[in-house]
């Protein structure tokens, strides 16, 4: 049987989602010790007796992490527990120094919240409410690198390298309730939810929220049930989803995989799956059929977390503008049409455009560059615009150069290519590539006369009042001047030359 198409899947099956997002907080020190948390330090240089779990070492809670978690809970419309506890999640793995993870179990610090997201549907913009079951604190594990072996996993590896710099970094886990009723929009709703979370977290300044560095990670639970059924299907949990685009792809892929199994009368296995960035498919991981017993119990080394109600209210008062309101404000301030606004959100360029505008660029110009040429290059390379080697400062500089008449739009596109190719800042690329607008009317006139002589017949048509024919001549002049002329000036001079000025 052939793989069903997505349309076939959603015609028959109704997806149910569940999303678990892990956020690394950007506190200066780790969750339970004073080690630094900076990303990218040499392996095992940010460790101490506590995060290496040396005998006798004890954890002490980072107050800042609690504050950040409460802020997240408040921003997600959660209730904040007046009393919650840390629990130990016991399991053996070499990258977890204590062989238990300090987490929260049945007493999370924040619970019962929601996030509203809006997506574009065939029937126009539509809002979905994602209910948040809980927000809790835990510590990150170390990083393992399994060397040798075919799979890159611990089984079959020749040896493994361990870096405990990440061990003990504060993590916040945001767990949704099951999300039913998204139908064929499930992948887009999930993506919009993660994007909204990311924007909220960025606004709170509690995390770097860089998916590519792992400071925001999403596990997507997907199951299918026949349309109209109340019985939930078996779910799979896809890990390693490291970009917004991957959230969408992973869910779509899992829906198709589940439907194929179900269509053939097979069962979906309850298991962990790993998303493969290159193929867009998932690979089977640990089977969860025999659920692991983590033997949770309250951590006796830590006191319960009992935030004062007054403190919670103080924190609530500091909450920043909600991303949805911000979008509304930006739309009005920049006077952006609906479609363009949605395009910016879909392309995930709002932040970068705003950064460019804050550097002095005209909002429309900034938007056009990021959404147009730069997004096109990113799509070609199959990466996010933020991963390209071009910054808001570069684009602001580019817009200024065009405004000053030193570049034409066409020339500016070459400069963008140069910047992305690593040739330097826009001014450097202009200098290196020898790009300049031909402003010398004399040179332009020489080219115009040459072209009109070569294409006398066309020139005659223009002279006779048939203006559309001028395009071919202008194109030829531009070619003659190697694209360095300002097309508008060429047109002006050409029409003047042919008595149409």
């Amino acid at each position: 049987m052939a793989l069903p198409t997505y349309d076939e899947v959603v015609a028959k099956w109704d997806p149910v989602l569940g999303l678990e997002v892990h956020v690394e907080l950007n506190t200066q020190s780790k969750m339970f010790c004073s080690c630094a948390t900076e990303f990218g330090a040499a392996p095992n240089t940010q460790t101490c007796p506590v995060c290496l779990a040396l005998p006798g070492a004890l954890p002490v809670v980072n107050e800042k992490a609690i504050e950040s978690t409460i802020l997240i809970g408040l921003a997600l419309n959660c209730k904040i527990a007046p009393y919650s506890r840390f629990a130990r999640k016991n399991y053996f793995y070499p990258d977890m120094p204590k062989n238990f993870q300090i987490s929260q179990y049945d007493e999370p610090i924040c619970f019962d919240g929601y996030v509203d997201v809006e997506i574009d549907t065939e029937e126009g913009p539509k809002q979905f409410r994602i209910e948040v079951e809980r927000v809790h604190m835990e510590e990150d594990t170390g990083k393992s690198l399994h060397v040798g072996g075919a799979t890159g996993r611990i089984h079959g590896a020749d040896y493994s390298l361990l870096d405990y710099n990440r061990a003990g970094i504060p993590l916040v886990e945001i767990v949704t309730k099951i999300v039913p009723g998204t139908g064929k929009y499930a992948p887009e709703v999930a993506k919009a939810y993660v994007a909204e979370l990311r924007d909220i977290l960025r606004g709170l300044k509690v995390s770097d929220v860089k998916m590519e560095q792992g400071s925001l990670r999403c596990d997507a639970n997907v199951s299918l049930k026949p349309i109209g059924s109340d019985v939930l299907g078996t779910r799979s949990e896809t890990k390693n989803v490291n970009s917004l685009r991957s959230v969408e792809r992973a869910i779509r892929g899992e829906m198709i995989r589940h439907a194929e199994l179900l269509n053939e009368g097979k069962k979906v296995k309850q298991e962990t799956r790993h998303f493969q960035e290159d193929t867009g498919l998932t690979r089977s991981g640990r089977s969860k059929e025999q659920a692991e017993d983590y033997r949770y119990f309250p951590d006796p080394d830590l006191l319960p977390v009992t935030p004062a109600a007054t403190w919670i209210e103080e924190l609530r008062a500091t909450l920043p503008e909600r991303p949805s309101l911000r979008r509304k404000r930006i739309k009005e301030e920049w006077n952006v049409p609906d479609k363009e606004m949605q395009a910016m959100i879909n392309a995930d360029v709002l932040d970068i455009v705003e950064a460019t505008v804050l550097l002095g660029a005209d909002p429309t110009k900034a938007r056009t560059w990021w959404l147009g040429e730069i997004s096109r290059i990113a799509n070609d390379q199959n990466i996010a615009v933020t991963e390209l080697a071009i910054t808001p400062a570069d684009v602001a500089e580019l817009v200024a150069l065009v405004a000053a008449g030193e570049l034409t739009d066409k020339l500016a596109r070459q400069v963008v290519e140069g910047v992305i190719a690593g040739e330097g800042k826009p001014a450097e690329v202009v200098a290196k590539r020898g790009i300049k607008v031909v402003n010398d009317d004399g040179a332009l006139m020489a080219a115009i006369e040459k072209v009109c002589a070569e294409q006398a017949e066309t020139a005659e048509k223009v002279r006779g009042g048939h203006l559309p024919a001028a395009g071919a001549l202008i194109g030829a002049v531009m070619k003659e001047t190697k694209g360095q002329a300002d097309a508008a000036r060429v047109r002006e001079l050409l029409l003047g030359h042919l008595g149409q000025g």
């Binding site: 007796p49 290496l52 779990a53 040396l54 005998p55 006798g56 070492a57 004890l58 954890p59 002490v60 809670v61 130990r88 016991n90 053996f92 070499p94 120094p97 204590k98 062989n99 238990f100 611990i154 089984h155 493994s160 361990l162 017993d293 033997r295 949770y296 119990f297 006796p300 080394d301 830590l302 006191l303």
Partner: protein
């Protein structure tokens, strides 16, 4: 010189009649002479001790103001991390580990100028009541070398009792300071939970563990208590409050008008005849000093042992998970092709002793899904009931008392194959740990039938540790008058020792 109390030694140091180096050398000589018989020490740090002693002497010479115990030697239970000194918690799995950091207790000892002679033997990871569970062989009771000194801090207690050190540090999770103090005829105190930092104390059961002092007198013990205690931001369960005035209480030693509650459930049947007799005698002494003796009822103590043997193993099953051969300690089975899991498993199998494995398995079971409520959950409820029993009893009495242990020291090997019999020895000490309060054991004389020391236990509410010392000092003084000489003078002098 080594038979003096720490207080007397401190006076001799202060008046210049001796030096810390002399004192340290005298104790190192005693260790060299008798520790082959007692085996109190796992590691003797002669160089480190002499260096610390001469540093203190130099400070004293230069006129620097020193703390009361500066220059006094001390034995440290091997459960506390000391930078650069082998620390094993009595386990083979940590053989050769050199901690890169000092526990907070060690930091405090060092800054008070105490001289750490070495690390003392203990039941592996403090699990046991006889020191026979040490991965390095048992410690022998200086009163009778065929008997155990109790445990788990048996090495520390034996060292003080054998005059190898005037003071020692132990840890008490279910009676591991008080019971060996009782069995070796010395004073031992388990402070209020949270009074002494657990940072650097290798965890057995986090909610029950507490380090505390040993001495040959109540005052010596108070002086060491004062050095060890105090708030520590590195331990989240550390109490942020002033240390109770234990030294002043030990000096005043007055029980006039004090209400002393005898716990009905902790006497009578199951207690050795000579133990009960000495306990009753001490009660009479206290009454004659003007204390009011009342009986209190703690009905839930019956379940204390059962609760303890669920909570402590549960916590230990998690606390000991870190010993996996990945980052420190011994590694076994790391041959070609062995997986990390296989190496962890082989190391833990070879490195842990039987009692440790028994408790890890018990605790793993008690915490597992489907059994949690019945075992760990119920045990926590009993814990609450015991706290309530104490709270009620402390409305009727200022301190509570009982024999420390049901028997005097038993023969090495006698209970090794009968864990239940061994566990029953902790019946009187465990309630204190479950409730997080404080307790002291001090010598009450010798049992008639075997001429071995009997311990008298005093208990006080949390952060009222001074009451232990106040009552203990009064009883100690009255008994000393009665006996004419300290109890340890009745112990046999060990071959070659002083």
């Amino acid at each position: 010189m080594i038979r003096q109390s720490a207080t007397q030694m401190a006076e001799a140091l202060a008046d210049g009649s001796t030096t810390s180096v002399e004192l340290t050398k005298a104790h190192l000589a005693q260790i060299a002479a008798v520790d082959g018989q007692v085996k109190a020490f796992l590691h003797v740090d002669a160089d480190g001790a002499l260096a610390q002693a001469s540093a203190v002497d130099a400070k004293r010479k230069s006129g620097e103001k020193l703390s009361p115990l500066a220059g006094i030697p001390l034995a440290l239970k091997d459960v506390l991390a000391q930078r650069g000194v082998p620390t094993t918690a009595g386990s083979k799995i940590l053989q050769g580990w050199l901690p890169p950091y000092d526990s907070t207790v060690v930091t405090k000892l060092k800054s008070a100028g105490l001289v750490i002679l070495g690390k003392t033997n203990m039941d592996e990871f403090a699990m046991g009541s006889s020191t026979e569970n040490s991965g390095y062989g048992p410690t022998f009771n200086p009163w009778d070398l065929t008997r155990t000194p109790g445990g788990s801090s048996g090495g520390s207690a034996a060292a003080v009792s054998a005059f190898e050190a005037p003071l020692a540090v132990g840890s008490d999770t279910g009676g591991s300071i008080r019971q060996p103090a009782a069995l070796t005829g010395i004073v031992g105190v388990r402070p209020t939970y949270g009074a002494v930092s657990r940072f650097g104390l290798i965890a057995y059961s986090s909610s029950l563990d507490q380090a505390g002092p040993f001495g040959r007198t109540v005052l010596d013990t108070a002086l060491l208590h004062e050095v060890m205690a105090g708030h520590d931001p590195k331990d989240a369960t550390s109490i942020n409050a002033p240390v109770p005035a234990v030294v002043a209480a030990a000096k005043s030693g007055d029980v006039k008008g004090m209400k002393i509650g005898v716990i009905k459930q902790l006497q009578g049947a199951g207690y050795q005849k000579g133990v009960q007799a000495r306990f009753d005698e001490s009660l009479q002494v206290l009454a004659s000093l003007g204390a009011e003796i009342v009986e209190v009822d703690c009905p839930n103590f019956e379940y204390a042992l059962a609760a303890y043997y669920l909570i402590a193993p549960s916590e230990c099953s998690s606390n000991l998970a870190r010993f996996d051969a990945m980052r420190y300690g011994v590694r076994t089975g790391d041959s070609d092709g062995a997986s990390a899991e296989a190496v962890m498993s082989a190391t833990r199998d070879a490195g842990f002793g039987r009692e440790v494995k028994r408790r890890i398995i018990l605790g793993t079971y008690a915490l597992s899904s489907g059994y949690y409520d019945a075992y760990y959950g119920s045990a926590q409820k009993i814990r609450t009931l015991i706290i309530e029993d104490y709270a009620k009893a402390f409305t009727q009495a200022d301190v509570l008392v009982s024999p420390t242990a049901p028997t005097t020291a038993y023969k090495i090997g006698e209970k090794v194959d009968d864990p239940m019999a061994m566990y029953l020895g902790d019946v009187a000490t465990i309630p204190v740990n479950l409730a997080g309060i404080c307790g002291m054991s001090l010598p009450a004389g010798l049992a008639e039938e075997d001429n071995l020391p009997v311990g008298f236990q005093i208990m006080a509410p949390a952060m009222q540790d001074q009451r232990l010392y106040q009552a203990g000092a009064a009883l100690e003084a009255a008994l000393l008058t009665k006996w004419g000489a300290p109890i340890l003078s009745k112990a046999p002098v060990l071959a070659g020792g002083k």
